[in-house]
């Protein structure tokens, strides 16, 4: 079994126009930087991107907006991005907003083979429009459907050659669920290790979910809000 590929370009060799891509990351934290750059280089268009945010104007997924590669975003929060705003207002970009927890749970449901779930989040708001609703144990709940993708792209801290992944701190966020919900999951890792080096009790994503893996390079890890205290 060999899931290791040389680099990001090889990892997305079969990515085509119109693909649905889930991308891990919360803001610019935990972004699969190598894979985003490779998609940018490849120039595929009409992408649907499922990701909590859409980067900033010139960082993260934002660079795919600059080149007009994205047709639709499925996200929970898309502030901090002027180009996004412009394309949306001009009708060039379709946007589907989900409450953050609903987005995470829909991705999990997609990966877990569930047909959907009832959640209280968003009941009675415009998010509920057009959705089935019912009262369960005295609470109004709405029905939410699973999300799946053609590709999931994530960045982990460590990964072994079989695809077992370990994340670091809040860089984990949406990545574990996304790995489960795509036809092809690609992981870039900061440290590619041999099979057997990761503690089996502490694997965040079991190898079954990862199809391709490589060690990323040139991590920029930009910080959006550099808040500090005096030392």
């Amino acid at each position: 079994m060999n899931k290791v590929v040389a680099n990001a370009d090889e990892a997305i060799r079969d990515l085509q126009d119109g693909a649905v891509i889930m991308s891990g990351g919360f803001g610019l934290c935990g972004n699969p930087e190598n894979l985003i750059r490779a998609i940018h280089r490849k120039g595929v268009k009409n992408l649907t991107i499922i990701s909590n945010n859409c980067g900033t104007t010139d960082k993260g997924l934002g660079i795919l907006l600059q080149t007009r590669q994205v047709r639709k975003m499925i996200s929970s929060y898309v502030g901090e991005n002027k180009e996004f705003e412009r394309q949306f207002l001009a009708g060039e970009l379709e946007v589907e907003l989900n409450p953050q927890g609903t987005l995470a749970e829909r991705i999990r449901a997609g990966g877990a083979g569930l047909g959907g779930f009832f959640t209280p989040t968003g009941a009675g708001t415009q998010i509920a429009q057009g959705k089935e609703s019912r009262v369960i144990e005295g609470r109004e709940m709405i029905f939410e459907k699973p999300l799946k993708a053609d590709y999931a792209i994530v960045r982990a801290w460590k990964g072994d050659r079989w695809g077992n992944l370990v994340f670091r701190k809040t860089a984990r966020n949406f990545s574990p669920m996304m790995c489960t919900a795509a036809r092809i999951t690609v992981a870039e890792v900061e440290h590619l290790v041999e099979v057997g080096e990761l503690d089996p009790d502490q694997v965040h994503v079991p190898s079954v979910y990862v199809n391709r893996i490589f060690q990323g390079t040139s991590y920029e890890k930009p910080i959006e809000k550099r808040t500090v205290r005096k030392g």
Binding site: E85, L97, N173, E224, T227
Partner: protein, 218 residues
Amino acid sequence: MPLTREQIAARAAQELRDGYYVNLGIGMPTLVANYVPKGIDVIFQSENGMLGIGSYPTEAEIDPDLINAGKETVTEIKGTSYFSSADSFAMIRGGHIDIAILGAMEVSEQGDIANWTIPGKVLKGMGGAMDLVSGAKRVIVAMEQVARDGSKKLLKECRLPLTGKKCVNTVMSELAVIDITPQGLLLREIAPGVTPDDVQKVTEPKLRISPELRTIKI
């Protein structure tokens, strides 16, 4: 005299108890962490997947893999844990967070809250706000009584798109502490030198005044 933003945060912090798990929204609610009563353990949750938020880092401690839901660099404490976004919102939605303290643009006397969008303005998205207001055991809104344009924010019905229905328990403003009850708004505490009438003037629904009305102490 109306409370300052810092004083509103300090008043909100008085609701914290030993062993509480708390989620703070961005803006004024973030300040609440500075006023945790001495001698108790309060653990702050961040919906991007962290329980046990510490202070901001020193320059040397900055770690791009460690941010809060407002995308600010933070630190961990002893006892911190990290988890995925699905697990984080399972925690929030499942009623495991004792208090969420949030800002708001509008709150209704039924406890409806609007704090995520203004039609026609910039599209941003609700992030985790809808999950937090529907999931936390208790929702406290920390906000000023009147918007910058002079309009009231505590209303009979919200005019802006809702974040959640019937979910706010208490509003803490520069003038008052107001509970949302099945009988409507109940004025429980009032800022020093402020009268119930002063509060009523900037509140659209009729206020009931608690028989135990007292002055806010910071």
